[in-house]
């Protein structure tokens, strides 16, 4: 069963928790990333997320499956918001159900990081001074080693909401 992993509408957390399911699970780890009102010294008024939707959905589903496999947890659910968001709006939700808390926490963190670093989603911030900018992100090109061109940074030091 494929749940939507991208949402153009506000995301409701409660339906994602599946509290009535998974009786073998004593742990539920939840991460909710929300829109922050500042970024690297600038005052953020609102922001917009855009995506290459077919690939973003594919990447997020792969992260869910990989996280279940890697941490041996039965339920991983990720939803990322797209469109125009206000301060405080939910940008990303990740829910992990697990028998014990340790793997729930670890799996949840792993899944959120993997989405941030791999899903083709972009964040444009709009600042209170009237300017805007796309947040510096992670390069997902995977054949740089075969290229003769100078190597841009491939790994992830960007700060972001959530």
């Amino acid at each position: 069963m494929d749940h939507p992993v991208l949402s153009h509408e506000p995301v409701a957390v409660e339906p994602l928790l599946e509290l009535q399911s998974h009786p073998e699970c004593g742990g539920l780890a939840l991460f909710v990333g929300t829109v922050r009102d500042h970024h690297e010294g600038q005052s953020v008024k609102h922001l917009a997320y855009t995506a290459h939707e077919p690939m973003a959905a594919k990447v997020i589903r792969a992260v869910e499956a990989d996280t279940r496999e890697r941490f041996g947890v039965p339920y991983v659910r990720i939803v990322h918001r797209l469109g125009d968001l206000a301060i405080g709006d939910i940008a990303i939700v990740c829910v992990v159900r697990a028998p014990h808390r340790a793997e729930a926490f670890e799996a949840c963190r792993y899944a959120v990081d993997a989405v941030k670093h791999g899903a083709p989603i972009w964040k444009e911030e709009f600042y209170t001074d009237g300017s805007s900018a796309f947040v510096e992100g992670c390069c997902i090109r995977d054949d740089l080693d075969e290229s003769a061109s100078p190597r841009p940074h491939r790994h992830h030091s960007h700060t972001s909401h959530g």
């Binding site: 995506a51 796309f134 997902i140 995977d142």
Partner: protein, 83 residues
Amino acid sequence: MIPIVFELYANLARLAGTAEYRLEVADGARTVGDAVALLGQARPELASSLDRCACVSGDSIVRRADALPADGRIALLPPVAGG
């Protein structure tokens, strides 16, 4: 000449002033890398950003050494920043 349509995202679309850019590439262009290099020549303002873009056909990443996609569409994905 082979028509290639580049789909542009995020800051790349902003730089180009368009979400799609059509380019007629010479018959000698065989690979994704060839087409991207020609795009950089046709739109120099994009050239410095192209190295950090992943190329996608459909919902899969294609590499610079891969053959041009049969449907003639290449999505250029700048560094990502979700979450």
